[in-house]
């Protein structure tokens, strides 16, 4: 089964989704914190992400069409199963996206668009967490179609993952603000970041206890010998990074907290992957069973191997152009 393109596409898709989570995660997180921050700082927070957010959201499109192209059966089963979380996420992203432009030009309704920006960010994040939880808990499937109802997603577990991701994105957002600002706003973000970090750790602990209790397969994956030895770096690394992030948020460092929170996401991401491997529709279809034919995967791979590095290069370049600290006064509006 290794003599196919499936492992390569698994890595590419995993990487794409992780880049989306890390990048749009920080700008959604800034949106969540935007509503909690002192009003004087909100302008600077928004300016810090204005040149990046639409590029970041582009990875969401790439993730969804990448899944459709490489594992179409998974796309056709999973997306209908999370019909309403996806709907709510999309509408929330619409609101927060247009709020970037609208709030500057509409003094009377600025409060409304501020609320749309913050609320849209929070709701979109929560909905993504619900999608993640639904994916972990699995779907009812009949043949090649989702056979449950459009409300199967609503369980206590998916509410937990929704809260977990909200803390996670807010932590990324706090790390970003620490990196991109200075003075009182940076000091505020350090405190907010620590609060989010505690929430993240509580959420990781809750999910890590809940999933093996709910699924015998996941319990067996993690707690049987020798898996427990191979997988132990994940929780241990999480603990080390958490301590590092806590201290970085307290110190003078600026970049460290952001990188550490991305590291926490990477380890959690690998943890979910380790729990579910090799399933792409948990309980029903493996990556290989849901894959598109080799001719499809090969055709897209040729271009992807060439284009993805180019995309990463000029994405990095656009971040470099806007390097440095942001201030409240100067916006392009």
């Amino acid at each position: 089964m290794w003599h196919s393109l499936v492992p390569i596409w698994t890595v590419i898709l995993g990487l794409g989704i992780f880049i989306y989570v890390a990048l749009d995660g920080f700008d959604l997180g800034v949106g969540i914190l935007h509503g909690l921050a002192p009003p004087a700082h909100r302008e600077a927070m928004m300016n810090s992400i204005a040149p990046f957010w639409d590029g970041n959201e582009t990875w969401l499109i790439l993730g969804s069409v990448g899944l459709l192209a490489a594992f179409p059966l998974a796309f056709a089963i999973i997306i209908p199963a999370v019909y309403f979380p996806i709907l709510v996420m999309l509408l929330a992203l619409v609101f927060r996206g247009v709020a970037f432009e609208f709030r500057f030009k509409h003094a009377r309704l600025r409060r409304f668009w501020d609320a749309a920006f913050c609320g849209g960010s929070a709701v979109a994040t929560f909905a993504q967490g619900v999608v993640l939880g639904s994916f972990i808990q699995g779907f009812r499937v009949d043949g090649r179609v989702f056979s449950g109802t459009s409300f199967d997603f609503a369980t206590p577990f998916t509410l937990l993952t929704g809260v977990a991701l909200s803390f996670g994105y807010a932590l990324l957002g706090a790390g970003w603000i620490v990196m991109k600002t200075e003075g009182p706003l940076q000091a505020w973000a350090r405190k907010a970041g620590r609060a989010c970090l505690l929430g993240v750790l509580a959420s990781i602990a809750a999910v890590s206890i809940w999933t093996p209790l709910a699924s015998a397969a996941i319990a067996h994956r993690w707690f049987s010998w020798p898996n427990i030895a191979f997988l132990s770096p994940l929780p241990l690394g999480t603990a080390v990074l958490a301590i590092y992030a806590w201290r970085a948020l307290g110190r003078d460092g600026t970049l460290e907290a952001f990188l550490a929170s991305i590291g926490l996401f990477a380890l959690s991401f690998l943890g979910v992957a380790a729990s579910l491997w090799p399933m792409i529709v948990p309980g029903h279809y493996t990556l290989w069973q849901a894959a598109s034919p080799e001719s499809t995967q090969a055709f897209l791979l040729v271009g992807t191997l060439f284009l993805l590095p180019v995309v990463l290069f000029y994405t990095a370049w656009s971040y470099w152009v806007f390097r440095g600290k942001v201030s409240a006064g100067s916006s392009y509006h």
Binding site: S150, L300, V311
Partner: protein, 465 residues
């Protein structure tokens, strides 16, 4: 009456894509226009081009942001409401969508940030280059998405196994029979749409006496573009129609308003189609002209809708009226552009108040024509999603109930009815402010960053002024 998830899913698709297509219809042309303005600014060094470019770039930012958020909705629609379609067609179509993301969306998004916010941060040639890249991105995006749409109209390069498509020949898939016609017809339509907006905005500014020099340049540029593109579009539309006749005869019969096959068929200007009885009521015909236009012969045979099996006929009303709206608008556009050219050549353009007013009225016509043409071709494809092979009824997500889709459609309606009018009002506000309004683009991130060393200081200010 029970709520039908299929019918409601179709309504939802119409709703989200009709609003979305208005934005590329505008931004594709506008991106190219801005790239040209940036080029003129770079090569001539005249600040008037920078002022015009900055003005349109602010409008572009609003419309592009709306395009992004309403565009993210689209690939998810294929999964949420058309999951059977996804499963059946993904092997062939999904790579094209993925290539759209890889070649177009990242290019647009990354360089748009530089175009909007980077005027002071990067050298002038890089800013011009960013404009070019955004324009290229919009054209790449149009390429891929119309390749997908065309493949659904005229599928090629595949074989079917277990009821699903498998790719055989990617060249044949991408360059399927209707794709070249559809691509050039659409891109030209998008450029014309933008051209009429620029013309109308220029006329408005001229009438209000705001930014007279900029208004004059905008109108001249728009008229000189449109005098070429509007007639060209009529030729491209005719070629596209001949292609439809060859590959989608049922759609063509609906467009023509023909129920019965006839040689030397008349051109039906207007009528009231009645699918139940298969008759056109109150028809206004011009004898034999239909055959001449379609077959380029007075006695050519035009196939009627009744000659197709009942379960393979599109409903006639939407393609029939949609096509007439589109062509009617094209004729109005041609008249406007010809009148404008005459005035331009006589040097009377800016004093002809009646014409400036007409230009304002015609500004939104391109959007209506794009929507009408889109409805014509999409409803004309019915009852299929992939023409002749996959029925729309087989494409819908089986787990959905009517209530699910009724709820989601209601929410899409609410949100879009807030977002789009607000966005349009904002863009109108920018236009009212005129060129060179005080909020000139500047970088959001400057403090703590020394000016880039490669920029001679004087040139930066000159460039922004």
């Amino acid at each position: 009456m029970a709520l039908d998830p299929l019918f409601l899913s179709r309504l939802q698709w119409v709703w989200v894509i009709s609003w979305h297509i208005l934005l590329p219809a505008f931004t594709v042309g506008l991106a190219s226009y801005i790239a040209i303005l940036e080029g003129l600014a770079y090569f001539t060094g005249k600040s008037v081009w920078v002022r015009i470019s900055s003005f349109w770039t602010r409008i572009f930012a609003v419309s592009f942001g709306m395009g992004v958020v309403s565009g993210i909705v689209m690939p998810f629609q294929i999964g949420t409401n058309w999951s059977r379609f996804s499963d059946i067609t993904a092997n062939v179509l999904a790579p094209l969508l993925a290539y759209e993301g890889l070649t177009a969306f990242f290019l647009e998004a990354s360089f748009l940030g530089v175009l909007l916010f980077g005027r002071k941060l990067v050298p002038r040639w890089v800013h011009f280059f960013a404009g070019l890249m955004v324009a290229a991105g919009t054209l790449f995006s149009t390429f891929w998405i119309l390749s997908v749409n065309s493949w659904m109209q005229t599928p090629a390069g595949f074989h079917m196994k277990d009821g699903r498509f498998f790719p055989d020949d990617w060249w044949a898939i991408i360059f399927n029979p209707s794709f070249p016609y559809r691509y050039f017809h659409n891109v030209t339509a998008f450029y014309i749409t933008t051209g009429f907006v620029v013309l109308g905005v220029g006329a408005y500014l001229r009438r209000r006496g705001r930014s007279p020099e900029e208004a004059r340049l905008m109108m001249r540029m728009a008229l000189n573009l449109l005098i070429v593109l509007v007639p060209l579009q009529m030729i491209l539309g005719d070629l596209h129609g001949l292609n439809t006749r060859a590959y989608q005869p049922a759609k063509l019969a609906a467009i023509e308003g023909r129920y019965d096959t006839a040689s030397s068929a008349p051109l039906t200007l207007f009528g009231v189609p009645d699918d139940a009885t298969g008759k056109m009521h109150h028809a206004i015909d011009i004898p034999a002209l239909g055959s001449l236009l379609l077959t380029h012969s007075w006695s050519g045979s035009v196939r009627g809708l009744n000659s197709f099996p009942a379960d393979q006929r599109p409903p006639m009303a939407v393609p029939f009226f949609g096509f007439r709206v589109m062509v009617g608008i094209a004729l109005a556009m041609l008249a406007t552009v010809l009148a404008g050219q005459v005035l331009l050549l006589r040097g009377r353009l800016e004093r002809a108040g009646w014409f400036l007013r007409i230009c304002q009225w015609t500004a939104p016509l391109g959007f209506l024509a794009v929507l009408a043409g889109w409805m014509t071709t999409e409803v004309g494809r019915q009852p299929w999603t992939v023409y002749g092979l996959v029925r729309t009824a087989q494409s819908v997500t089986p787990s959905l109930t009517g209530a699910d889709v009724a709820l989601s459609l209601t929410l899409y309606c609410l949100v879009y009815l807030i977002m789009f009018p607000t966005g349009i009002a904002f863009m109108a506000g920018i236009v009212r402010g005129g060129v060179g309004a005080p909020d000139v683009p500047a970088a959001p991130i400057e403090a703590g960053q020394t000016p880039p060393p490669y920029l001679p200081a004087g040139r930066v200010l000159d460039h922004v002024a």
